[in-house]
Amino acid sequence: MSVNDKRFVPDRLHGRGYRMARSWESLLIVVVIAIFIINSFASPYFLDAWNLSDATFNFTEKALIAFAMALVIISGEIDLSVAAIIALASTAMGYAAQFGAGTPELAAIGLGVGLLCGAFNGFLITGLGLPSIVVTIGTMSLFRGLSYVFLGDKAFTGYPSDFAWFGQGYVFWVISFEFVLFAVMAVLFGILLHLTSFGRMVYAVGNNATAARFSGIRVGRVKFLLFLMTGVMSGMAAICLTSRLGSTRPSIAFGWELEIVTMVVLGGINILGGAGTIIGVVLAAFIMGLVTFGFGLMNVPGIVMSIFIGLLLIGVIALPVLYTRIVRRFTREQVQ
């Protein structure tokens, strides 16, 4: 059967190369390269190994959570309590450190509190069937509120000296521990989402939860596991951040939930669920890190950076819509 046969229906209209070139991820790569070039022209200090290494701290901790958040959003839910989990986990670690807990215990406590918070979210959302956006707005207040109850207006600072390694240590030359952790987690989450049957289930749940249930997927259990994941990753981020700052205040990581959601959406994860890749999130993390770091080198205040991130979020999503609309108008005229 030849391709010219009228009865031939192609599986896909375009070849693999064309699809890859048109994909969201390629657009993000172009943006990353553009920002990199602009930055190196704008500041003479940008192209320095140590500077670039410092730049990674801007996004590694947020990206750790963004990987898990990406899966949650693909499954059609959202978790706004992640930054509050950081605060609670960090408070628990600070409390334990006061009683002389060592570094391994502190790390276990951080991850454990994250796990418990995730389980609590997961129970409310899948066990009681409540909408995740509201539940996590509630637990966001609850978790951060508990940190305020424990800490008040004080701060925990007495961390053991070797605890600093998580946030300040270097594995090899300029490669920090946090960056290695970021890379390892990117690969693990990439494998989980794109190469395992669990990953396929996440997409199935996000595309049509009812259909997924009829095809034998335990939708509730998948979602519960995803909220456990955001909890644990928030605990991991809490360890890195607390270790890097060397102190805990109840306002730690305030507002991060929205930056993390921005990172995930910028990475091409459909906020309505069902579509997106981990590579996209990795690229979005680089974009947000490079933008804020480049602005930092140019002495642009943080709040102005956030304007740019907001414009980037809306712009990157609006431009393809406008582009296809213009292309469609143009091609329609040609057909007529």
């Binding site: 207040s141 509120g145 921005t262």
Partner: protein
Amino acid sequence: MMARIFKHREALLFVAILLLVGAIELRFPGFVAPRNLVSIYNDTAILIILALGQAAVILARGIDLSIAANLALSGTIAALLNVAFPDLPVIFLLVAATFSGAVLGAINGLLVWRLSIPPIVVTLGTMTIYRGTIFLLTGGAWVNAHEMTDAFKAVPRAVFLGIPVLAWFSLAVIVLMMVVLVMTRLGRAFYAVGGNPHAAVYTGISVGRTHFFAYLIAGALAGLAGYLWTARYAVAYVDIANGFELDVVAACVIGGISIAGGAGTAIGAVLGALFLGIIKNALPVIDVSPFWQMAISGTVIIIAVAVNARSSRVKGRVILKKAEHAR
């Protein structure tokens, strides 16, 4: 009779508020004194105004996370106008703040309508943009009380018939929104679009246009609240009302407005806001550290959603019993 009343979430919430106030009165006699109640209502007035705007958006199955940033930017614009042109009448500044809020809301609405970007993404983006714009306007400096004219600061505090003007504004907005939601074509369109957007299209309602007007209303109310906030607290800077958007959503949710759209009333939003406002005001009075406030309001939100979800649960039945047991 009783059962029928309790089917209404608003009645349930009203009873809960009465119980709450009664419990506080036991610990702190004098809490229900009329003067104290008026002052609590006055403290909650801005939350009520914002919750009514947010209610319109959520009813139409959207969400406005930029509502507090809009308040801050519009309020700052009013304050800056007041500093730059002290001779301008206050009514003009009030209209300017409301207009600026409406424009910012319209930007949200246009992005949702014309570019079909999901509401949560649009308002997440505009939230940071609006707040950043305050920094560009003020250069990070505060607009302080001594720079504002006395007339600017006096309006929300002025007392009319024993009630502050701030509270009168919120009462007017309550009446207005009840009329809009129940008696106008637009109000019914919010419910139709939120209940089932596809069905709404078949009845001739433009979903995008309805969204646009929901954001326009929410924006205008946020702008009005912006003037009232800066005038009442006599200060304007980048971080005013930071994080307030979540209190506003919480008030709507506690008031029984379904986050999935299509269900809820203006009265519910008002009661939800009052519930949060009473808790906030009662904590220091009954000797609970204000540090407990966040944890308590979080717990209240979770309980409220759980109760609401219980009462509106769609009844299902188990099919394929054998397979169910086989698990």
